[in-house]
């Protein structure tokens, strides 16, 4: 489980996160929605500590960290409990699909190469890329790269996988294959936080939807309630603007 308490983050004078509290239970899938610039990416990056919060506490499993007193060791320990799937995939470009998945296992988890290879192959097969083990990222489509990214995150068996708009850099016809993979792993009880604009997807994958705007959580609830009967005016406005564009969701 994950608990965020009072996360604040500023870039210069601009306060991007204004005290975020969020609890995600084990096996829960939480979708984060919100207009562009509302701080969704920054929040995920704070959880993964790619961005250092100004203040607040982050707890993942048994590892808690206070942003104002965080040492290198704590940060490293916290990072090892989460994995990130990036909007721009960020696969290691000098490594093949399989090597991308193996890298963390061998270097961080100190797994033997043989074991890591087995695990990597199994995971790539699971995301439908059993035929692309030895391909470099530059040879893969966006959808394939993102599926490798998901396999890479899964390999680490983190307590939570953070998805930052995993399909928004993809051509529309490639969105489906990636969402299908995420849907499948969601059913396996893996804890996930997904920033997405795919409403239909959020509706049937998430246990809970969180609406963020201007650095605060405006409203959260089960998808049926948040989409069907939002309490806050800001949420309603946002959903109204989003709906017509979401025509290609599945």
């Amino acid at each position: 489980m994950i608990r965020l308490s009072g996360i604040r983050k500023s870039f210069g004078r601009q306060e991007v996160l204004k005290g975020i509290d969020l609890h995600v239970g084990k096996g829960e899938v939480v979708a984060i929605l919100g207009p562009s610039g509302s701080g969704k990416t920054t929040l995920l990056r704070c959880i993964n500590y790619l961005e250092k919060p100004g203040e607040g506490e982050i707890r993942i499993g048994d590892q808690a960290l206070d942003a104002r007193r965080a040492g290198k060791k704590d940060v490293h320990a916290l990072r090892r409990r989460s994995a990130m799937v990036f909007q721009q995939y960020n696969l290691f470009s000098h490594k093949t699909a399989l090597e991308n998945v193996m890298e963390g296992l061998v270097v961080v988890k100190k797994m033997s190469k043989d074991e890591a290879r087995k695990r990597g192959i199994a995971l790539l097969e699971k995301v439908g890329l059993g035929a692309k083990l030895d391909a470099y990222p530059s040879r893969l489509s966006g959808g394939q790269q993102q599926r490798v990214g998901i396999a890479r995150a899964l390999a680490l068996e983190p307590e939570v996988i953070l998805f930052d708009e995993p399909t928004s850099a993809l051509d529309p016809e490639l969105v489906g294959e990636v969402l299908a993979v995420i849907r499948r792993i969601a059913k396996e009880g893996i804890t996930m936080i997904i920033v997405t604009h795919e409403m239909g997807f959020a509706q049937d994958v998430a246990n809970r939807v969180v609406f963020m705007d201007e650095g605060v959580i405006v409203e959260e609830g089960p998808p049926a309630q948040l989409f069907g009967n939002p309490k806050e005016e800001r949420t309603r406005q946002f959903l109204k603007r989003l709906t017509p564009e979401a025509s290609y969701t599945i």
Binding site: R79, F86, V107
Partner: protein, 236 residues
């Protein structure tokens, strides 16, 4: 001026024994320079306190002064340093015992280090931030991320410029003759002066340098083809 074509060949053969000296000068300065340059570039890139400032000062000074000046500074200062150290700690060293080529090694490595640090730095800057972030997100430490992910890609990106550095050092190594090291160039002078056929001798030297340069370019191209396979959409 009367050209003596047959002497070009004579000189060419006479120069061959000096090739190893030129190559070893280049190899040592490039290898040490790469190590120094990498350390310098990393210190500046990741803003390591104190080291970053020293690194910047080193690069500015060395790039702002001629290679020949570095050689002379080392040549005149290093013996003093060695003798002082020896006297201080009773090491029984003597700067007179140090072979001349050692001064060239030290000085050329320092020169190469500064130039190569800029090459490595531009390679590092060419790598997307996302690579480092992805490495951290899978749980690597910063040193692991640099060693395994960022640096190999930076070297691949910097390869063409690294090749230029190697060629620059090959040609720059001719300065070694000022400290009485008999490299190709010095050998050409020796061969020429016995017969007063300078043009022919230096022409032979030029041909050898050209050949060596082409060889370096070929080797570099082959390495580049292998290392940057990934960026051209290859399959392992």
């Amino acid at each position: 001026m009367k050209l003596d074509p047959s002497f070009i060949w004579t000189a060419f053969v006479g120069l061959l024994p000096a090739i190893p000296t030129t190559l070893i000068l280049t190899l040592v300065s490039v290898t040490c320079g790469f190590v120094i340059g990498t350390g310098t570039a990393l210190a500046r890139m990741y803003r390591i306190p104190v080291l970053a400032q020293i690194a910047s000062g080193y690069v500015t000074f060395i790039r702002g002064t001629p290679m020949l000046v570095h050689l002379l500074l080392i040549y005149f200062s290093l013996p003093l340093l060695i003798d002082a150290l020896s006297a201080q700690f009773d090491l029984g060293w003597n700067s007179a015992k140090v072979p001349m080529i050692a001064f060239a090694f030290v000085s050329f490595s320092i020169t190469a280090g500064a130039y190569m640090s800029e090459v490595v730095r531009s390679g590092l800057m060419a790598i997307d931030r996302g690579q480092m972030e992805a490495a951290l997100s899978v749980g690597m430490t910063v040193p692991q991320a640099i060693r395994r992910i960022v640096f190999p890609q930076a070297v691949a990106a910097a390869l063409p410029n690294l090749t230029n550095s190697v060629i620059g050092m090959l040609h720059g190594s001719t300065l070694a003759f000022t400290v009485s090291v008999v490299d190709l160039n010095a050998k050409a002078q020796i061969v020429a002066s016995t017969n007063w056929k300078y043009f022919e001798a230096y022409l032979a030297a030029a041909i050898i340098f050209w050949g060596l340069t082409i060889a370096i370019e070929r080797i570099a191209a082959a390495i580049e083809r292998r290392i940057s396979l990934y960026s051209r959409g290859g399959v392992a």
